[in-house]
Every structure is written in C-alpha cells, then in structure tokens.
C-alpha cells in the first residue's frame, strides 16, 4: 500500500500540532465551546450523548498491520477497549476525553493515520473497492485514484466550506463493491474501446431524507483529467448548491433541481474554461502514487490447495466459513478472507482492541501486512494463501471473528443509533442483535441465502436503510421507538431505493416481522433467486399481506 512520504507526514504533524494548541486554549477557557466546536469538528471530534467521539479516517478502507495495532492501542489506552467500524469505513471511538484528544492524534500521526475531514462540510474520507488489488475483475487498483483524490482534497482551500458534506467513492470493477451510486460523486473506472482507462462519472447519489441514485453526467472521462473535472463539479456545487436549508444542501438536490443534463452542461462549461494542466496530476506523480500500490510478490501456486481441501473435508465449520467468508483472488492459490464483525448478539462493526491486535498479527503473518475495512462493517484480509486458510480460520474463530455470515441475514449494517448518537430517534444496535439471534442457526441462515438488512436510527441514514434488501428505520412515536420497514433496496451495481412496506412497528415486533417476510420469500422464491430478486419480481403485495395479517 501507499506509504506516506515526508511531505504527507509533515501535513499530519502540522495538523496535530494545530489541534493541540486549540485544545489547550479550550481547556484553559480562552475559547468557548461555541468557538471550539467548528475547530474540533474539523478534527473529527464530536460531542455525543455521553462523551466525545473521535472519528478516525481510514482512507479508502486500507490499513497496514501497524496502523491497526495503533488503533488497538488508542482504543485500549484512551477508550473502553474497543472501537466501532462505520459504513464509511472509518473507526469511531465513542468514549474519548477532550484532554486526551491531542495525544491520540499524535499517536495516530506516527503511523500515518488522522481524523482530517471526517466531519464538516468538506470532501470527506474516500471510499474505494475493499477488494482492490486482489479482485480478479478489476481493470485497475481503485486505491490509486482514491489516494490521488485524498491528496488533492486535503485542506482544499476552495472546498472546505461547501454547502454540505461531500463524499466520493471509486470502483474499478464491473461489480460495484463501493456503493458508488449512493455517493455525491461515484467514479466507475473501465477500459474503453481503445483499451484506455476512463471514468464514468455519476453525481448526486445519496441517502438521508431524500434518497437518490446518482445520475451519470459524463460517460467517458479520460483518467488524466480526473482532478480538473472534480474541481469543475465541486466549483459548480460550491457556488450554486443551496445554503438556506441544511436538508436541501447536498449536491443531489442541486442535480435533481437543475436536471442531470443542465448540471452536466454547467460542469462542462466550467471545466472547459479552467486551466486543466494546473490541476491535473503530472504523469510522474501519478506513477509515484501507483508504485505504492504495486502488487507485492505473490507466490506461483496451483489454483486449488490440497491442504485446504483436506481441511474442509474434515471440518464442516471450516467448509461453511469458506463458502461464505472467502472471495476469489486474482492470484491462483490465494483468497480474500472476510473477518466478520457480526458475531451473533454483538454490536455490528464493534471490534475490541485484542481483536484488532489479532487481526493485525494475522495480516502480518498471512496477508502481506494489509487489512481492509468494508462498508458493510467487516474487516478483510485481502491476500491469504489457500494453504493458510485453516490457520487463519482457527485463529479468527477463537476470537469470535469467524461467524460464517457474510452477506447473510445476520450480517446486518447498523448505525450506533440512540445508544450513542445525539441525532438518533431510536436504537439500532439492539434491533440488529435481536434479528441476528433469531437467525443464529447457520443452517437456517444459509438456506435463506443472501439477504442484506440495514438499520438506521434516524433519517440521516448512516445505516443505509434505503438500500437494504430489508431496510429498517428507527422513528420516534410519542417518545416510543418504532421501526419502519422497507423492501427491495440495493447499494450495488443494480442500485435501487427500498420501498416502504407499511406502518412502523414497535421494537419487539421487528424480529418476528422479519421472520414473516423471510417466510414469504422462502415460499415464493424461484430457482436461484435472492430475497431481493423475489421482491423485485413479486412486488411488495405478498410480503405486506403476510406481515400485516395480524392487523386485519
């Protein structure tokens, strides 16, 4: 992976020093909380229901083993011994003391980590394909472009006070594993008819109160013009996005208001008028960044591992893990291994310091020292030899990290909800735990197959409920927590917004309700259909009829 050079490290050190001075002034009472608030938010430090929360950026979801160990150290030393991986592949520490924040940032800066632009109306942390560099179907390593954008967008003088926050995702594979269609800008890299790399540029996706799938405003952007084109999009948005209403300030509202054609025309006009050469990265710099992501010494191995096959034949548990938590690697004899942070009954996305250390050690020993964070709130060891999978599985299993449930019904996305978050209307975590417990039997989960449940504790949709096969939204009904269910959403290549099923139900009814929906699916499904496919084919009617049968 790309290692920060002296310049990158100096940027982090300068930033940490600036924040230390601001914290000292606040703790000494020289500035008020009101004056301090925008400064701390610039460094990812939020004040939540019970304590400060620090959101650490994990750029494009890539971590080195040393970085993960540093996160473990911070979680153990300054927090309650765990952290929470989010749907934006960041790590949130929920029990931070203000006086510790500068030391934490110093400690993170030593390993090239930071909390820059994890809050505020700026360009946030980048998202890329969690399989980048390991996926057989990619045309390029999407992290190269994510790192290009990370540098360009860091402390951008023009785009630090946009109308609203701004999120960019990059994928370089026909299978969209980065949910690019629900991003403010979704960049999809492909090879054109001449074999040249180009981007399809989508703009104006987003969830929240007004869910939108992004519109394509340019079908073919030569990769060398990426940054000048991004500048044009951001400039049009910065000048014309709404600032009078926080709920209408995202770029999706501007794009929808103008229409994608007119928005595209304005961007193209701005782009044509701009000095592209001043913005676009010189070839040598692109090559330097690319070198940081060059594949490192894979061994030439047979496609199948006799050792692994024998171990699977001996262990049904390992065989099940292999069916659900492994993905094919581009290099024969290797696999992409998912580390599930969705153990039954635990908080989705939570990871203890000890678990972080263990995953870091496994990465060093078996995965070229690399870890990925997936937006589904799981970790990934991207480069594991099939020969080594039995050992990796055993170590993960002993630490509660090998639940064989990736993309199954208990692999639930949930935001922190009312257990932590000041914005939430309802809790999300206990609902996820309830559902997972109800479908704890791995045979049952496997029979149901792919089913993505996504839970948000409020309309801001951090839990992506709009794009869940089953989406669950917490609402407040006269002081009581209720949950509104919707069906048929997807955040992937076949992106769609889920449709509301019917009236919200109280917390205790959610898991039984899901049971009813699964029952309908199992009765209705045709060969090979996922839950999502069945919903799309039948519509909501049979699901509605069964789930609300009691109400009539």
């Amino acid at each position: 992976m790309y290692l920060y050079d002296d310049i990158d490290r100096q940027m982090l050190a300068d930033r940490a020093q600036e924040f230390r001075a601001q914290c000292v002034r606040r703790l000494a009472g020289e500035i008020t909380e009101d004056q301090f608030k925008p400064l701390r938010l610039m460094n990812g430090l939020y004040l939540q229901l019970h304590a400060y929360m620090l959101r650490v950026a994990i750029p494009y979801g890539t971590l080195s083993a040393d970085q993960l160990r540093a996160l473990a150290h911070v979680a153990r030393t300054y927090d309650k011994g765990y952290g929470h991986f989010t749907t934006r592949t960041n790590l949130q520490l929920h029990w931070i003391k203000l006086r510790d924040a500068p030391d934490i940032l110093d400690h993170l800066a030593e390993v090239g980590l930071h909390a820059i632009q994890t809050s505020g109306n700026c360009i946030r942390n980048l998202t890329a394909d969690p399989y980048a560099g390991a996926a057989g179907d990619e045309v390029d390593d999407s992290r190269v472009w994510a790192e290009v954008i990370r540098q360009w967008s860091t402390f951008h003088p023009e785009f630090s006070y946009l109308p609203r926050k701004f999120k960019i995702a990059v994928t370089a594979s026909p299978t969209d594993r980065a949910a690019t269609r629900i991003y403010d800008i979704g960049l999809r890299l492909y090879r054109d008819a001449d074999g040249e790399l180009a981007f399809e540029v989508g703009v104006g996706g987003g969830l929240g109160r007004l869910p939108y799938i992004g519109a394509v405003i340019r079908e073919r952007l030569p990769v060398r013009h990426l940054l000048s084109y991004l500048q044009a999009i951001l400039r049009v948005y910065n000048l014309h996005g709404r600032r009078d209403n926080i709920h209408k300030a995202r770029i999706k509202v501007l794009v929808a208001g103008l229409g994608p054609e007119e928005f595209s025309r304005q961007v193209e006009a701005e782009w044509e008028a701009s000095d592209k050469a001043a913005v676009d990265l010189p070839h040598a710099e692109l090559a330097r960044i690319r070198a940081g992501f060059m594949p490192m010494g894979f061994e030439a191995l047979p496609a199948a591992s006799r050792r692994f096959e024998a171990a699977k034949a001996d262990s049904r548990a390992l065989a099940r893990f292999a069916r659900h938590n492994l993905a094919p690697h581009k290099q024969p004899g290797y696999a992409i291994v998912h580390v599930s942070l969705k153990a039954i009954g635990e908080t989705p996305g939570d990871c203890s310091a000890d678990q972080m250390d263990l995953v870091a050690d496994l990465a060093d020993r078996y995965s070229h020292g690399e870890i990925r964070v997936a937006y589904e709130q799981n970790l990934i060891l991207p480069h594991v030899k099939l020969d080594d999978v039995p050992e990796v599985y055993a170590a993960l299993d002993a630490a509660g990290l090998a639940t064989p449930n990736i993309a199954l019904i208990s692999d639930i996305i949930a935001c922190p909800g009312l257990d932590y978050c000041a914005l939430a209307n309802a809790r999300a975590i206990p609902v996820a735990q309830d559902i997972a417990r109800r479908f704890a039997d791995p045979e049952v989960a496997e029979r149901i197959g792919e089913l993505k449940i996504k839970i948000s504790g409020c309309i801001n949709a951090c839990g992506h409920h709009h794009v869940g096969h089953i989406g669950i939204l917490g609402v407040d009904k006269k002081g009581e927590e209720y949950y509104q269910l919707s069906l048929g959403g997807s955040g992937e290549g076949d992106a769609s917004i889920a449709q509301i099923l019917g009236p919200a139900v109280p917390a205790a009814r959610v898991a039984p309700f899901i049971d009813d929906l699964v029952g309908v699916y199992l009765a209705e499904r045709r060969d090979g259909e996922r839950f999502l496919d069945t919903v799309r084919r039948t519509g909501l009617a049979p699901f509605k009829a069964a789930a609300y049968a009691d109400a009539h």
């Binding site: 940027m11 300068d14 930033r15 003088p157 023009e158 630090s160 006070y161 600032r243 000095d275 990265l281």
Partner: protein, 167 residues
C-alpha cells in the same frame, strides 16, 4: 470600524483603510468608496470619472463574473462572508484571480475569522477585515501552519507533487 489587515509578501500588517463602505441608502461622501453591486451599476462609472477610487462589494450570492465588464475601472473588490461557513467567496476569489486576471486588492469582509486565514490567502485574498479581534501576528501564524500544500491555488505555492518532482 474594523481593523484592516493587509497580506503582502508572506506577512500580515495593519493597514490604513482609505475606503469608506457606503450603504445603499447612505448619502454620498467624499473620497474613495466601496459600493454594493446594485449601487455601483447606478453610480459607479460616474464616480470613477470624477477621479475617485471605487470598489465593489459582492454578496456571496452574486457571481464574480458579473464584474468582468467593469473590472478594469475598479480599485478594489470586496467579497462578503455572511457566515464563516458560507464558502462561496472562496470560489469567487479564485475566479477573479486565476481566470479574470484581477490583480488589485481583494478584500474579505463579513464573518472573517483567523481560523480561515489559510484558506483565504490560498484563494487569493490579500486584505481582511477580521470579525474576531485577531491581530496581524495571528494571521501571519495561521497562514504558516502548513509547511506544504497539496494543490495549486491562487497563491502560487508549489504543491506537493511539484515539490516531489523537484526533489
């Protein structure tokens, strides 16, 4: 009257403000003046013809491009930050400096805070009316916080990628 800070050659200093900003309904005064865009359209050319220095103060909702036909006659452009969170003037400043060739004084007015000094200077502002009682020393320090920058802007600092190629 707020203090005026000038930014010249990498340092902030207190400057004497030779301009008076006239409200739209205020009677005309002697000397050099700053007008809103609507008032400038009504009276500006005549005042310039009298030999006065005249500046225009743009609201954040007004596009910098509207100044193109009159830019040659102006002595100053002021861009307003109604709230520090309203970042439109950063884009307007860059357009004036980098596309429209404005070489005269570019002044930040309104909710102008030293925490944004770094951004404003990078976008081409060279004069500030701070709203937070910050001093020129504060501005000089804030502008120098980062030893490197990652992108080209109106201040012509060499970005990291150029430094790396030179190294």
């Amino acid at each position: 009257m707020p203090m005026l800070i000038n930014w010249r050659a990498g340092a902030a200093t207190v400057a004497r403000d030779g301009f008076v900003t006239l409200a739209d309904d205020a009677p005309l005064t002697d000397g050099d003046i700053i007008l809103s865009w609507p008032r400038f359209q009504a009276e500006g050319e005549a005042l310039i013809a009298q030999g006065r220095k005249v500046g225009v103060r743009l609201a954040s909702s007004e596009s910098a491009e509207i100044l193109a036909p009159v830019l040659d006659g102006l002595s100053l452009v002021a861009l307003e930050f109604p709230k520090f969170r309203d970042g439109r003037a950063y884009s307007s400043a860059r357009l004036l400096r980098e596309r429209m060739g404005w070489g005269g004084e570019l002044r930040a007015v309104g909710d102008v805070l030293v925490e944004q000094a770094y951004l404003m200077i990078r976008c081409g502002f060279d004069a500030f009316e701070p709203a937070d009682a910050s001093t020129p020393a504060d501005w000089t320090a804030a502008a120098a916080r980062f030893a490197h920058v990652y992108q080209r802007a109106a201040d012509h600092r060499a970005p990291a990628f150029a430094e790396r190629q030179g190294a």
